[in-house]
């Protein structure tokens, strides 16, 4: 995979956006559907300015965008952020690799055959 300078810049801003656990959690919440700032404030127990700041970073990275309702200004995942699928399978794969490694270790502690 060859990525040009513009692509590198975009990936850098994506990684910067993803480096914060709250922003990753906000993304996870938006996967379940669009949400307004006030809907996001409650589960994360953050102030409105704090949430807005996180949303700004996510927006700048192209990961989220404004929803249809201009009045409530809900945010949703940006479809184009998901375009390059090879970029997204790697963390998914890593997650399952770790999981399988833990499973392997767990199985080694079980010396008897389950019935």
């Amino acid at each position: 995979m060859v990525i040009d300078d513009a692509g590198t810049d975009r990936l850098n801003s994506v990684f910067q956006a993803l480096s914060d656990p709250t922003r990753r959690a906000i993304l996870a919440r938006l996967m379940a559907g669009e949400a307004t700032v006030s809907q996001l404030m409650q589960p994360f127990q953050l102030s409105q300015p704090a949430i807005s700041k996180h949303l700004k970073v996510l927006e700048a990275a192209g990961l989220i965008e404004g929803g249809r309702d201009a009045q409530r200004r809900p945010r949703r995942l940006a479809p184009q952020a998901m375009r390059d699928i090879t970029q997204w399978i790697e963390p998914f794969r890593q997650q399952w690799e770790s999981r399988c490694a833990h499973l392997d270790r767990h199985l080694a502690t079980i010396t008897t055959t389950e019935t």
């Binding site: 995979m1 699928i85 963390p91 998914f92 794969r93 997650q95 199985l107 079980i110 019935t115």
Partner: protein, 159 residues
């Protein structure tokens, strides 16, 4: 680590774009009854499910067709892995629905070891991408480090 080096080469992740399926295979040096138990007994699932290596904070399993399950991790309590069992055929396979996709986990005995096949069947191409991006959202810092390393490898300037 896979017990069979030949299986390791087959253990890659495959994306089937026609059926919107993610599929991967791993071989474990354990009988398949033990694999089946590791997937279906709360005291065992809790030991390995969380990619961070921490035990689950809650693991509920109602092991019957139509029965619900819910795995809750310490790092993402707001996003438990939850769904409904559809088929339970010990120790051969397990089918469940979770997060809008169908999961199928099958265990096959190969030369005294167990080959585990995990399939995640999504509704659409968009849904497949959403499921994959979940890995980013729930990623541990370790996962993120891997992602950054991966990006550095793939972003090397072309000659």
């Amino acid at each position: 680590m896979p017990a069979d080096p030949k299986a390791a080469s087959r253990s890659g992740f495959h994306l089937d774009r026609h059926t919107n399926t993610i599929r991967f295979i791993r071989v474990f040096a354990a009988p398949r009854v033990n694999l089946f138990a590791a997937w279906t007994r709360p005291d065992q699932v809790t030991q390995w499910w969380d990619a961070t290596g921490e035990p689950l904070t809650a693991c509920e399993i109602d092991l019957r067709p139509g029965g619900a399950f819910r795995f809750t991790t310490r790092s993402h309590p707001e996003m438990p892995f939850a769904g409904i069992y559809r088929e339970i055929v010990p120790p051969d396979h397990l089918v469940f629905e979770a997060m809008g996709s169908t999961g199928r986990v099958a265990f096959r005995e190969v030369a005294g070891q167990t080959e585990m096949t995990v399939e995640i069947v999504c509704r659409s191409a968009e849904h497949l991408e959403q499921v994959l991006s979940m890995g980013v959202a729930t990623g541990t810092s370790q996962t993120l480090d891997h992602l950054v390393a991966f990006a550095r490898r793939t972003m090397r300037p072309s000659p």
